[in-house]
Structure formats: C-alpha cells, structure tokens
Symmetry: C2
Subunit: 227 residues, 2 copies
C-alpha cells in the first residue's frame, strides 16, 4: 500500500488526501511534523515539507504539485470521465491555474498564516503565542478569495468548468483548514458556500471531517453539512 506523510491541518496534505480518496487509492497515513526536521523525513524530501507520497514501488514523490501530476499520470489517465485533471488542453490550463491559485496564492495570503500561527507554533521549538496581527491579515485576505469562488461557481458547474477537477479539491483543502480553525467567513458569499456544501458532502471528504488535531477543537459547524 502507498504511504502518505502528512499533517492533519496541512492544506497541501489535505489536497492530496482528497484526490487519493476520490480515486479510491488507499494509503497508509503517517503524521509528520515538518518543523521538527526529522532526518528520515529530510532523506525523503530535502525540502522538508508535507505531503510526501511513497508509492508501492517505492517511488518517492515530494510536494503537493509534484504528487498531483504524478497521480494524474500513474492513476488518473485511466479514469476517463472521472479524471480530475481533464484531458482537454485548455481545461488542463484552467485546472492547473486554479490549483496554483490555491496552493500558492491562497496559501501565501491565508492558510500559511492561519496554520503556522495557530497550529505549528504549538509544537515548534521556538513557538509562542499566535501573532494576532498576522491572523487579522489572513482573515481579511480570505474574503476576496471567497468572492472569487462565488464568482466562478455562478457561471460554471465547478471551479474550473463543467466537471469536477483538482481545482475544487485544492480550494476545498485550504478552506477546510480555515474552517477547522473557525476562520472561514460563511457570511461573505452565498455561491461559495453552496459550492463548499456540494464538495463537503462527497464521501472523499469524510476522513477530513473526522480529523482532530491534539488540543484543538474544530469550529462548531466544521463537520456539519448545514453550516
């Protein structure tokens, strides 16, 4: 069975967990605190980031964007209509553009601050209390992203077009981390909320909704379908 080194509140790990679950690929989950820089983990990925995927034949695939391309080539290409990186050239561009939007831009502006300040600092050697200024910035930054999701899903069935793609799971992975931490502004955009309700109700989402980080209770409606 493949192995995924992940952290429950690492949004990039959640993205990969969601696409593995959508494809029905079982993987052994190993919780990794990347900040501890464990030598065995750095040997797998010198960059020392979660997630890292190790396939059955021991191919080591580090980093969310590299794993997503690998899974498309190794597992996705055979899925036809269920392929999450669609075969059409323009649809691939749009899917990758949005995956990058959430895994890079949204992460830089929102989830990196939220998760670092609220979660990783708890077990980091030089931890300390969350920086409230950074949390305020992240909470302000998330709002235009919610409106962008709303804008896209008002003209399309899913984020990147008519079919469900990696883009939806990248967006949902990041938003689910903000939601766990009580920082997803569900009053901001009705269409974005409806899109999240649709994706949250998929079976692939269930393991994420059961996640509990030690010492951190999720927001009240985190696991509810009606929020």
């Amino acid at each position: 069975m493949p192995t995924l080194y992940h952290h429950p509140l690492c949004p990039h790990s959640r993205f990969i967990r969601l696409i593995l679950a959508e494809y029905g690929i079982d993987a052994t989950l190993i919780e990794e605190r990347a900040t501890e820089r464990r030598p065995e983990f750095l040997a797998l990925d010198p960059a020392g980031r979660t997630p890292v995927f190790v396939d059955d034949d021991r191919t080591v695939v580090p980093g969310a964007s590299v794993i997503a391309e690998y899974i498309d080539e190794a597992y996705g290409a055979a899925r036809n209509a269920q392929r999450l990186l669609p075969p059409d050239v323009k649809a691939r561009v749009e899917t990758r553009r949005l995956v990058d939007w959430f895994n890079v831009k949204f992460f830089d502006e929102v989830t990196n601050w939220l998760v670092t300040e609220k979660v990783y600092k708890r077990f980091a050697p030089q931890g300390g209390a969350p920086d409230m200024d950074l949390l305020r910035i992240a909470r302000a930054n998330i709002r235009p992203h919610m409106r962008y999701i709303g804008y896209l899903t008002q003209t399309r069935n899913w984020l990147a077009g008519e079919r469900l793609t990696y883009a939806d799971f990248a967006a949902a992975a990041h938003i689910s981390c903000a939601d766990y931490l009580g920082d997803a502004p569900w009053d901001e955009d009705e269409a974005a909320k409806h899109w999240y309700q649709r994706i949250k109700s998929r079976p692939a989402f269930r393991p994420l909704l059961a996640d509990r980080a030690p010492g951190m209770t999720p927001g009240r409606f985190y696991a509810e379908m009606d929020f």
Copy 2:
C-alpha cells in the same frame, strides 16, 4: 506568433524564455510591470503575475509552472531525446521536484527578496530604498543552494539526472537574476560554478545575457563565459 508577457528580471519569466528558446519557439516579448496591475494584464491573469504565455490559437496560459506543463504537452512531447520534461515517470518526479525547489523555495528564500528590493521597488508606487536586512538574508540564503547544486552535479550530469531538463533552466533562471544583481557567490562551490558555465554557454541563454534593466547595470562578469 505566441506572446510572452514577462519582466527582464523576473526569474519565472526567464525560466520560460529559456525553455522557449531551447525548443526554438519564437515569441513576441511584452515587458510587463506586474506591480502596476494593468487592467488588460489582470484580464489575462487575475493573479497578476509574470509570466503569461498566449499561444497562437489565443490560449492564455498564466504562471511559470502552468506554462511549463502546457509547453511540455503542446510542444515538448514531440521532441523525444530533447524533451525537457523527460518521459520516464521517476525522471519526471525528480525534474518537477527541482523545478518546484527553485521556482518556490529558492524564490521565497532568495530571488523574491533580491528582485523586489532592488528592482521592483524602483518603479512601485510606494517604492523606497532597498531593505538592507532583507538583502543580507537573501545573500546568506543563496549559499546553501549553491552547495546543493554542486552536490547534485557532482553525482549527475545535469541537475535532475543524465539529461538536461526543466530543472536546469529553472535553477539557471533564478541564479542569473542574482548574478545580474551582483549577488551570485561564485566562490561558494566550484561544481555549481562549472554547471552554470555549461548552461550559460548554451545559445538559449544569449538573449538573457543581453538584457539590460533601465538604470541598472549588471554585475561585471554577468555576460562573460569566464567568471
């Protein structure tokens, strides 16, 4: 003819210019100052970053990693031995891992600080002088990266293995920006320097060596093969 919106000292733009030149794809270059947030540019890429590639059929491809995958699918797949994203699965993983290393990690730790402080601030609305502390951090951060390049190229012909790949051009693009700004420490690692001499001598590199940013003279040995 395709169009590339770029900035001469944007390392991600340089990465794409290099791979277009390696493949012999001529493109009209349009210089874009992303910080000015020109509405016509934001219409092409709502994320507002260089580079953006517009192909002959008007397919708009924004962002270095999305463009690199697009070019592999649209132009690279037919190149066989010269394909810069090699067909073998494990070689693709290693190539993408290193492209990500330079386009994300090296950028976050080095080129983003150097280029923002020394170049973009000059024409940004709230510009000001470069922050010397950030430049010092970037100059310290670049040294372990030079040693990592040296380490890789002492056991392999090129960065990702025996053949030339995207990884070499991503690394060279970022280092060439640091070199233009006089911040590439050529005393750090002899093997890294030899690798850079090899890639710098390729015809695809010439247009980059001829680049001059307004009001900024490059380092003394920037365009020299012997540095």
